[in-house]
Symmetry: C2
Subunit: 559 residues, 2 copies
């Protein structure tokens, strides 16, 4: 046993992670990670509830883990070597912190005696992610003291519990290691006793439940379900809406679409200014994160609607500052409580909103415009398939125009809203094994092109629909589009390469898709391996098409 202490302590650390529900590990190779990587490989070999995936680019790896954690509803561990490797996790840690995803960053480090004296690849990794994590801990791996092993078991399990407890979020475990780093392979694995930490659930008191039920029953009330990717059972929203006869302003990331009560397109309807006064609610019960639609929160404030905000993750997260009542309790618990109260039979308000939805659906169905038509085509995806959507224009169009008739899981990195790491997040989502599609613009694809590597590395199937508008499409909607002299070099940023060549580099199937019918046909069939479907667009034409659609909406509602 050449390296017994290190080997035993690492096994306790890994065993503690598994004991608290960490079954997925994403490793970026390096020298300092050696003992962890080898023992992870051995652990994967000896037990079947552990999976290790290698992603060489740490920025990509962290977003890949983010996609897994969000989709699988479980904590995912990351392993990086010392130095700038660990810094590459920050963008995804930031997103995980804002969207409450339990990532466990294991950052190997140089030992204490090499800190701050010019040793190579040695940086200060203590509290590296600052305010973007819930907890930081350093665990000693090479101390033979009897307390150390027990501390590892206790502290590591505690940190995983911290990460998954609402509001969930990432943690960092820093691991200083001195050479020699080779672990003893083939030795016995110690049993790690799982701590049973019951964190409980925050529920509303009965007066609050009764008060909210009365408002939902007696007022013109709506649900606003914002993004939530980790904690909800979306069918409960349908039951709540049915019980009180409520329309649901269902964010595309709420998981609540499809539903008879779900309304889409609120941002377009508000932009077109086609909503009659009798569609304004008196009360809105709001769940989840900040909606994709910027206009809907502004509208609630402008109309002085009474907003009740519900949820533990999103408590206080109302940048319209409109919510009068914040109910910081478990959402599913509150819905269960509300369902036990008397409901409502009055369907008039709901019916008016359903008519709006019908008119909207009819109007957009008649369009064959490129970017707007993409959300319609996405409804052809198979039942139970998954769809990851890039930020900027794709998520906005999807929020307005995507209303599937079957269950299609839609996700985005809608916390910090970065354009970084999206390819990797989509591939992380694909680790469930379900058919997965990624809808993106060309610029966002470029930002995380390294993520495409995971198709080969983890043997994943994926369809990527690339809307190629030659650069940053969203800027064409902003005031700077008027500054013509400086616009193209500073904002347009056209990419100098062909999507077909990207496909060739990564051995992907490729097709330039010219019409919506063909796109629907392709999307109905899940990809085998990696498939890139390019849809060409034009930034200026796209602005004109969006404007034309708004005009059609005005005509449909008022004409």
């Amino acid at each position: 046993m050449a390296n017994e202490v290190l080997t035993t302590n690492i096994k306790h650390l890994l065993g503690s992670l598994v004991a608290q529900g960490v079954h997925e590990f994403v490793v970026s190779p390096g020298s300092r990670t050696t003992p962890f990587a080898l023992l992870l490989a051995e652990m994967q070999h000896v037990r079947d509830d552990v999976r290790v995936t290698v992603d060489v680019d740490e920025r990509s790896a962290a977003f890949f883990a983010l996609g897994m954690a969000k989709t699988m509803h479980q904590p995912v561990a990351l392993l990086a070597t010392s130095g700038t490797a660990t810094a590459n996790y920050l963008p995804a840690m930031m997103e995980a912190h804002v969207s409450h995803v339990p990532l466990i960053a294991l950052t190997t480090d140089r030992p204490a005696e090499l800190q701050a004296i010019g040793a190579p690849q040695t940086v200060n990794q203590t509290n590296l992610y600052g305010d973007n994590i819930k907890d930081f801990g350093a665990v000693e791996m090479q101390d033979a003291h009897a307390d150390v092993t027990r501390y590892i078991d206790y502290r590591v399990q505690q940190m995983v519990v911290t990460a998954v407890t609402a509001p969930a979020g990432p943690v960092q475990i820093n691991l200083p290691l001195r050479k020699p780093l080779m672990p003893d392979l083939g030795a016995t694995w110690p049993a790690v006793v799982a701590q049973h930490i019951i964190t409980g659930q925050t529920r509303a008191d009965w007066q609050t439940v009764q008060g909210i039920a009365a408002l939902l029953r007696d007022k013109r009330a709506m649900v606003l379900s914002g993004p939530d990717e980790m904690t909800w059972d979306a069918t409960q929203f349908e039951r709540l809406a049915d019980h009180f006869k409520l329309p649901i302003l269902a964010d595309v990331l709420s998981g609540v679409r499809p539903s008879d009560h779900a309304i889409n397109g609120i941002d377009a309807l508000l932009e077109a200014d086609v909503l009659a006064d009798d569609l304004v609610p008196e009360v809105v019960i709001r769940f989840g994160g900040t909606p994709v639609s910027a206009r809907v929160v502004a509208w609630l404030r402008a109309k002085d609607v009474q907003v009740i905000q519900v949820g533990q993750n999103a408590a206080g997260h109302d940048h319209s500052r409109q919510a009068e009542i914040t109910v910081a309790v478990d959402e599913m618990g509150l819905i269960a409580d509300l369902l036990a109260e008397p409901g409502s039979d009055s369907v008039a308000f709901l019916a008016r909103w359903q008519t709006v939805k019908t008119t909207l659906t009819k109007t957009i169905a008649s369009t064959d415009m490129t970017e707007v038509a993409l959300p319609l085509a996405m409804t052809s995806l198979p039942t139970d398939s998954q769809l990851f959507v890039a930020n900027s224009m794709p998520i906005r169009d999807m929020d307005n125009y995507f209303m599937p008739t079957r269950t299609i899981r839609v996700m985005a990195n809608r916390g910090a809203n970065g354009i970084d790491g999206t390819v990797s997040t989509a591939f992380g989502m694909a680790m469930t094994g379900k058919p997965t599609t990624f809808l993106t613009g060309d610029l966002t694809l470029f930002h995380d092109m390294n993520g495409l590597m995971m198709a080969h590395q983890a043997q994943l199937d994926m369809t990527i629909v690339v809307v190629n508008n030659q650069g940053g499409g969203i800027f064409s909607f902003l005031p700077q589009a008027a500054a013509k002299a400086f616009f193209e070099p500073m904002f347009g940023t056209p990419l100098p390469f062909e999507i077909a060549d990207v496909a060739k580099l990564y051995h992907a199937d490729y097709e330039l898709v010219a019409d919506q019918a063909r796109l629907r046909e392709l999307l109905a069939q899940p990809a085998q391996g990696l498939r890139l479907l390019e849809v060409k667009s034009n930034r200026e034409a796209n602005v004109a098409e969006h404007d034309a659609l708004l005009a059609k909406l005005r005509e449909a509602f008022h004409g």
Copy 2:
């Protein structure tokens, strides 16, 4: 004047940066950056000492700026939009902090009234880079109070001075902005008065100078010149060595090669164990950062050599803990002082080392082995050309075997030693307009493949020599190579694509180079645009070839 306060304050900020010597700006487009980006474009248009370069991937952008700052010896400013975009700067900030490079990160932010209440793309950007910067400041851009503009002028100039003062390092200026963001274009630019801040220079007292001079004159003394990319005039080392007849253990990143006094290959000589006892110095005067050679510092300790460590950046940076005397003064100042003292005529020790060098040079000249031969081929680069070297194997081989006969500027990211961001750093180096070559392995190329975009974006010429050993070559030299079952998936990480396809994607010239003669021929001619030269290698064969070379060295010295 729709947005006069914002426009005026931004002009003061930009003017203050220029007043303190910031002439290069690297911009990653985004919505929140709009007023800065447009006014930067206007500033570039109206004055000829400002250059703005766009790099859409913020991780790449920061390393690109790092490469510029290191090569041009001046501070470089970065501009990012709010959210995870800013987090992507961390890897390069970390490297800049360790290698003392003055990067000025301008991070635009959401306004204070949107913090922590769930507004989209809003994260805590205060002190985002933690201990990896020298100073953090937040500057208000939309306050019309008379003190604010003066504060901007003062504070921003002060922060640039902080960044460039030894030990130099990065700073972050956070810029909260509320809408509307469109600046007034075409208005007058205010004059910004440059503060003249004389930071002075730390010099040694005369007793110290005389004491060191006596040691160099009377003992078997050597110079160890470690990496330094920012502050040195390398010709002074030659003068110092000539004055006291000193051999220089010249790190490949010291800038001291070529020189009659410079010795290369110290790591290989120590590994082969061919150095006779009479080559061991009594005294070493050490300059610069931690040497590429890990063995040289261990050797000095094992032989109990008296080490005098000199420098402001590297004071206390001796992870061998061998230095008895640390002289934390300006290096060039100390050399000037030493040159004023009496020198030495005794050339015996220097001559013995020069014989070692001759034997080494002859031995390696007879090799035609792939990876080892690359440093020899690199000596064919044109005079005054630049060479950026990736970490891991390439920098180690270069440190051992590269001894040019003309001035070739060699750089690497040898602070935190990451494999991230190297392509971008090389392109930043190419911004000088001098012929630039980048020597890298395939895995490092992959990690920052997005950096290749800058060939088109900034119209840069670049030759990239890719040693394709299908993954992480260095791991084959480490103990884990013995763990065959787990090695390939966990460490080998072969890339699933062809370098020729990378070249096609980025419209680069491509050639698979089979022999050293052809490589020399190609390297002698600077690239027009982007050129990828692939040299195929094999990880296991490379280990064997390194071993064979060590055997040849033993034979040459002892045989």
